[in-house]
């Protein structure tokens, strides 16, 4: 409301948004390049896993079925572990977003007085914080959105090359819109902590701890989600015979004579599509976004209480 009356009264227009956005980009150029490098690197890893990286494991599955995957034929089982590297990278990236928001983005500026420098240009603290949140948020959404899409593609294409257990299930249920919402919550929590603490080092520590809590709850530990079913031991792998019929895995492992005796010419495996996926994903995303909104509202409230805004 005060913004409305101000716009009506002030003859000099507020600076166009582009100037403020350019300034924020310029100030955090280093962080921006690191983020772009992170997204490019992780996307590269995902594309490799989607393409040539999967060849060995795929061949093992085609030839020996699920047994081929678990019997460490060449790098077949390595694929299963490499598959999660991208998830680790995403987690690290999300932590980095929270730390960045707490430290360099907000607290360092308040500590050194450069935030106050910005506020004494023609930029009100509220617009400053809005730009400080919106610009990184746009890059976080674009970056993690792209990575999540690729990861989802990868799961659809090669999820059946994973060794069954709790790990693939956790990944499967955590991957989706919530993967994008989590670093956004990290950004908002970091900004809130930065505004509250106003000193770089404590803000880094508290932001890290706050995001650790988010991380600990993610992956199906939210109280509202309940437990997911115990991991099934059944591999869901089917053998394909020469007649094209799909039969149960004859348990030949890598015994080619045994496979020939059963007329097995190939294998197929479908792993983990679950009707539970979307309800869980959307619920988690909703909760993360709601918490983000609360953190952002608190951050603006704190800022308004501190500085005269107009």
């Amino acid at each position: 409301m005060s913004a409305l009356t101000l716009e009506a009264a002030a003859p000099a227009p507020a600076p166009p948004r582009s100037g403020l956005v350019r300034t924020v980009l310029r100030l955090h150029r280093a962080a921006l390049w690191i983020w772009l490098a992170f997204v490019a690197g992780t996307a590269g890893l995902l594309l490799w896993l989607l393409g040539p990286g999967a060849d060995t494991a795929q061949r093992a599955l085609d030839t020996y079925g699920y047994s081929g995957l678990i019997m460490a034929m060449g790098s077949a089982d390595e694929y299963s572990s490499r598959f999660y590297y991208a998830d680790t990278l995403l987690t690290v990236g999300s932590f980095a977003v929270a730390l960045f928001a707490g430290g360099p983005l907000i607290a360092r500026e308040l500590e050194t007085g450069t935030a106050q420098l910005a506020w004494t240009q023609s930029v009100s603290p509220v617009r400053w914080l809005a730009a400080k949140l919106a610009v990184p948020a746009a890059f976080v959404v674009a970056g993690t959105g792209l990575l999540t899409l690729l990861y989802h593609q990868l799961w659809t294409a090669h999820g059946n090359l994973l060794i069954a257990g709790i790990q693939p299930r956790a990944l499967y249920f955590s991957l989706g819109p919530a993967t994008v919402a989590a670093p956004l919550l990290g950004l908002a929590l970091g900004a809130l902590i930065g505004l509250a603490v106003r000193r770089t080092l404590p803000a880094l520590a508290f932001s890290g701890f706050a995001y650790f809590l988010v991380y600990a709850f993610r992956g199906n530990h939210w109280p509202f989600q309940g437990r997911y079913q115990a991991p099934e031991l059944h591999s869901r792998s089917r053998a394909i015979t020469a007649t094209g019929a799909r039969v149960a895995d004859p348990d030949c492992y890598d015994d080619k004579a045994c496979l020939a005796k059963h007329h097995v010419v190939g294998f197929s495996r479908e792993y983990l599509p679950s009707s539970d996926y979307w309800p869980r994903q959307l619920l988690e995303t909703g909760v993360l976004l709601a918490l983000t909104a609360v953190a952002v509202a608190l951050a603006f409230g704190l800022l308004r209480r501190r500085a005269a805004t107009g």
Binding site: A12, G19, R22, T114, T120, Q121, S124, A308
Partner: protein, 307 residues
């Protein structure tokens, strides 16, 4: 009580202004004054008198705990585009170059930015626009910060110890630039400093803070005229009996030297002399109990008008 068109415009007006920091007590308490537009005012006071706090509140960086503050006919922070603030530690982004810092000024103050003016101040110091802020000395940073402040063509400049880091030559030159610019554009300047002698040349108005309030406020000439240094044989009581207010007195040889706030002429027996600004300020700093004096133009309007 109606707003009189003859009264000079007011750049800054405080009424019952107070600021507390947690439990540390008050930095300012019931502080009231008004700064007419177009004046170049010196803000002096002992350490911890609330000078920086007052400037930061006027710049819209801090919220007052109590009272009201009107800046260019608006609330603090309402006219950020027309107010410049130079903080004591001269914060700048260390990762930017000088040229980038000035571009930031242009981007954040698009309506008012005077690139030529800002560039000129940087050039005067012989600074390379491509050098990073983090590589500059304290004085060089001050110059860039001042270029940023002047580049936005403010109507009110709030300067917190602006010249503290500068060598005498740069100080003289920058002060000259600042004053010429202020005179040319009619800018109101409120500038805190510890170096009173330096302020005497540049400023025509004084606000002395002490104990959270304005102890002395008004045009420097008016304030100096209102006070006299008297020397002679007598006691402070002799002066007080005549209605003068003795701010500070000390025995000098067989007589007495006192700085008094006159009420009418001083008795024949005393030798009189107009005090220097430094004498006036020091006497008031040494005598915190002396009653406050605000000249009419610096006295805030009654509450009803400011509300």
């Amino acid at each position: 009580m109606s707003s009189t068109s003859t009264a000079p415009a007011v750049a800054l007006e405080a009424s019952g202004l107070g600021k507390r920091y947690g439990r540390q007590g008050a930095a300012l308490e019931d502080c009231s004054f008004r700064l007419p537009a177009g004046r170049i005012s010196a803000l002096v006071g002992p350490n911890g008198a609330g000078k920086s706090t007052l400037l930061a509140m006027a710049a819209g960086l801090l919220r007052p705990t109590s009272g009201t503050l009107t800046v260019l006919d608006g609330a603090p922070g309402e006219h950020r585009d027309r107010v410049a603030h130079l903080a004591q530690n001269k914060p700048l982004y260390p990762q930017l170059t000088i040229a980038e810092t000035l571009s930031m000024g242009a981007e954040l103050n698009p309506a008012r930015w005077d690139a030529a003016c800002a560039a000129r101040i940087v050039e005067q110091g012989g600074l390379d626009p491509k050098s990073r802020i983090r590589s500059l000395s304290g004085g060089q940073r001050t110059r860039v910060a001042l270029a940023l402040a002047l580049g936005k063509r403010p109507e009110l400049m709030l300067l917190d110890e602006p010249m503290a880091d500068l060598d005498p030559l740069a100080r003289h030159e920058l002060m000259g630039t600042l004053m010429a610019d202020a005179a040319e554009h009619g800018t109101t300047v409120l500038m805190s400093s510890h170096i009173v002698a330096e302020l005497a040349d540049a400023c025509d108005h004084l606000l002395l803070l002490g104990g959270g309030r304005v102890r002395l406020g008004g045009g420097i000439d008016d304030l100096l005229t209102a006070h006299t240094v008297v020397t002679g044989r007598g006691t402070p009581e002799d002066l007080t009996r005549r209605g003068h207010t003795v701010i500070e007195s000390r025995t000098a040889g067989r007589g007495l030297t006192a700085l008094v706030r006159r009420d009418g002429p001083v008795d024949e027996g005393w030798a009189t002399e107009e005090p220097s600004l430094e004498e006036l300020v020091l006497a008031h700093l040494r005598a915190p109990a002396a009653p406050a004096l605000l000249t009419p133009s610096t006295t805030p309007a009654p509450q009803a008008v400011t509300a």
